[in-house]
Each structure stands twice: as structure tokens, then as C-alpha cells.
Amino acid sequence: MSKLLKTAAILAILGGGTAWWLSRPIHADPSDFEGLTGDATHGEQVFLAAGCASCHMNEETKEKTVLTGGMELPSPFGSFVVPNISTDPEHGIGGWTVTEFATALQKGVSPKGQHYYPAFPYTSYTHMAAQDIVDLKAYMDTLPASSQENADHDMPFPFNIRRSLGLWKQLYLKDSYVVTNTPGSEIERGRYLVEAMGHCGECHTPRDQFGGLDRSAWLQGAPNPSGKGEIPGITRGILNWSKEDIAYYLSSGFTPDYDSAGGHMALVIENTSKLPDEDRDAIAAYLLALP
């Protein structure tokens, strides 16, 4: 073998090895959750703020506490089917440890070490506080089991190779918030509700060619992933609503000219309407602080 070929072979192995290493599943740190006790009552607030039921509810009956899943989420890469996250030990997530649950939320990795598709908004949930995760689990553990089997996602090659999502995460799963300057505790709480829990950016921010959020156009509106229509921008300049307008919309579903929320946003408002007033005010304060 010539020296050149040998070098090429070594480089290929190294390159492949690096890609393999970079794409490995990462797990949450169990020590983050040691000594924490779950509070199911507060967990319900987390469940609402994180909007879990809006996608994971029973698609047939629309029951918001039966987390059977089944909703189809279209995307340019293929169609996702929302999985069962009820307490069923076989088809749902019953029996998961807190660390497994946190690994799913914060790292987008299943207990079997498989990468989840980012249709599951772990790039947002990665910012969730340890106590909130423990509380959320305590609440979800009180919900009924559903024995419905999960349907397969309809993903064509090459997007069906989950290992490659590890490389995607290197680019898009970030520890840092988008807005780094939060003057005052209200805007900071708003940032947590919008960027971490509410995962508003998942629909209201445009995506690049790899399906990652374009942080330079944060919450400035995006094409509807269903292919029809637009998801509106919600920055101050685009929306031009007052703080009261935003908070009232999140509680009643009425826009300032008394049109009403529709589509998936109607489900979001069903959740935000049950949050405390201060949380809706905080979301409004954060949005108004955006450039």
C-alpha cells in the first residue's frame, strides 16, 4: 500500500471515529436530581407551561391528561407521530427513573440511548430547572396509563438514521439562552417561560436548511410546517401589542381586535389561561423586551 493510501485510510478512520464520538448520546447528570422531592401540584403548573398535552394528548378523544399521543406533525424532512408518554410501562414512559426522564427532556436521548428527533422540543427543555423536572415527573406519574402502541415516524432516508441527530445536536442543542440580557426578574421569568418551557420559538422562529432554529430571526415568524400559511412573528415591532394585550390574549384567546386564536395556538392558550397572572405578564414583558 502506498504511503498516501495509508494516510487516507487513517484519516478516514479518524474522521469516522470523530463523527461517531461527536454523535454519541449524552445523558443528564444524576447528581443534579439527588435529594430533590417531586411536588405533583407544582408539577401540573410545569406541565401546563411546557405545553406537554398540546401534542401528547389522546389524538382520538382529545383528553388532555391521557397522554396517548398519535398526533401527526408534518415537516420538510418527513412526518412525525407523537408518541405515548402516559404511565403505561410498556408503551408509555411508566417506570422511567428521574435521570432517564431528565435525559429525554434536556438531552433528547431515550433510556435505550437513542436520539430523539427535535420535533420533541428538547432544544428548549434543555434549560428546564432540575426541580421543575422532578415536579413534572411527580405530576405525570399521577396520570392514567394508555396501552396504545406507538406508530412509526414516516421518515425517508437519510433522516431515518438517528445517530446523525447527534451531529445535529452539536450544532443546535445549546446551553445558552437566545436572549442573554434580562434586566429584572420579570423578564427573566418570561425568558424561562418562553425559551425553555413554552418552546414558543419552535413554531414562531424560522428554521435553516437542516431544520435548526435561526436564532438571528428569533420569534420573527416562520412558514407553517404543514406547508400552508404562516406562523406570525411575535416580536414587539411585528406584533405591536401592549403588555396588557399580550397577557389578555394568553388568558382569553382574544386578539386586541377580538379575533380569536385558532389552530395549535388555541391549544397553547388552553394552557396559558391556567397559569397565574404573573406568568402571563412575564411572557408579555419578555416579548416586549425583544429587539
Binding site: 407553517n224 404543514s226 400552508k228 400559511g229 404562516e230 406562523i231 406570525p232 396588557e244 389578555y248 388568558s251 382569553s252 384567546g253 382574544f254 381586535d257 377580538y258 379575533d259 380569536s260 386564536a261 385558532g262 389552530g263 395549535h264 388555541a266 391549544l267 392558550i269 388552553e270 389561561s273
Partner: protein
């Protein structure tokens, strides 16, 4: 001759999608109806928010208007073939015609909460707040399933 026949046949085929019925009257009626709703909801909502003073007469008139609209027979306005796939200028999803009973039930639910508002409007904004929330819920529950995004 054969070419001519083929051309005629082809033109007829091509013309088919354009043969959608004229639904402009139904669309105008529908959109006008929802505009009337929005204006009256605005009267009530502004009082609830405290943007305007509570005025019993104005609140009563607005609530009665909502009840009035809830009595309009919707199938006349939502005629078969007037969905967003068939005609331009509407966001009405075909699902309306696939689930006529559910659509009718959701409209009836709007009527019920409009009646609640009619009672509440006489007493003041304390009672109007929850009634406004119920109206918002009725609007959303229909728009969630039956209205296409903008």
C-alpha cells in the same frame, strides 16, 4: 377535426377546477357575521379589561347581538363547496363538512355562552369576566379544528 375535438375535450378538462360555484355571497355573510361578533365582543371585552367604563345598556346591547348571531342558521352560510380547497378568500377547512354534527354542536355551544353573557352583562364586570373567558373558549374550540392558519 380530430385535433379540434381533442382541443375541446382538453379545454373542458382544464376548465373543470375553475367551475367552482360562486360562493362570494356566502363568504361575505360569514365574514360579516364574524365581524359583527368581534365588534360586540370588543364592547364587552374592553369593559372587562377596564379599558372602558361599565355601561349596562351598551353591555346588554352587545350581549344581545351575540345571542342574535348565534341564532343564524349556519348551514346556509357554510354551503357545501365553500371550503378553502374549493374557493379562494376563505379559511374554512373541509373538516367542517366532514363533521357537520360537531360543527353544529360547537356553534350551539357559542349560543349557550352568549346567553350566559346576556345574563352577566346586566350585573357588571365581575360576572362578565368569566363569561368573556367562556366566549373565548367557544371561539377557540371551533377555530382550533375548523379554521386554517393565516
Amino acid at each position: 377535426m380530430k385535433t379540434l375535438l381533442t382541443t375541446i375535450a382538453l379545454s373542458a378538462t382544464l376548465a373543470l377546477p375553475a367551475a367552482a360555484q360562486d360562493m362570494s355571497a356566502q363568504l361575505k355573510a360569514r365574514q360579516g357575521q364574524f365581524r359583527i361578533m368581534a365588534l360586540n365582543l370588543g364592547v364587552l371585552g374592553d369593559m372587562v379589561k377596564g379599558a372602558t367604563e361599565y355601561d349596562a345598556t351598551a353591555a346588554q346591547a352587545a350581549a344581545e347581538s351575540l345571542v342574535g348571531i348565534s341564532m343564524v342558521h349556519q348551514p346556509t352560510l357554510f354551503a357545501e363547496g365553500s371550503d378553502e380547497m374549493s374557493v379562494d378568500g376563505t379559511r374554512a377547512l373541509p373538516a367542517i363538512w366532514e363533521n357537520p354534527d360537531d360543527f353544529a354542536a360547537k356553534w350551539a355551544a357559542f349560543g349557550e355562552v352568549a346567553a350566559q353573557m346576556q345574563t352577566a352583562a346586566a350585573t357588571g364586570t365581575d360576572a362578565m369576566g368569566p363569561a368573556m373567558g367562556a366566549l373565548g373558549g367557544a371561539c377557540k374550540s371551533c377555530h382550533e379544528t375548523y379554521r386554517a392558519p393565516q
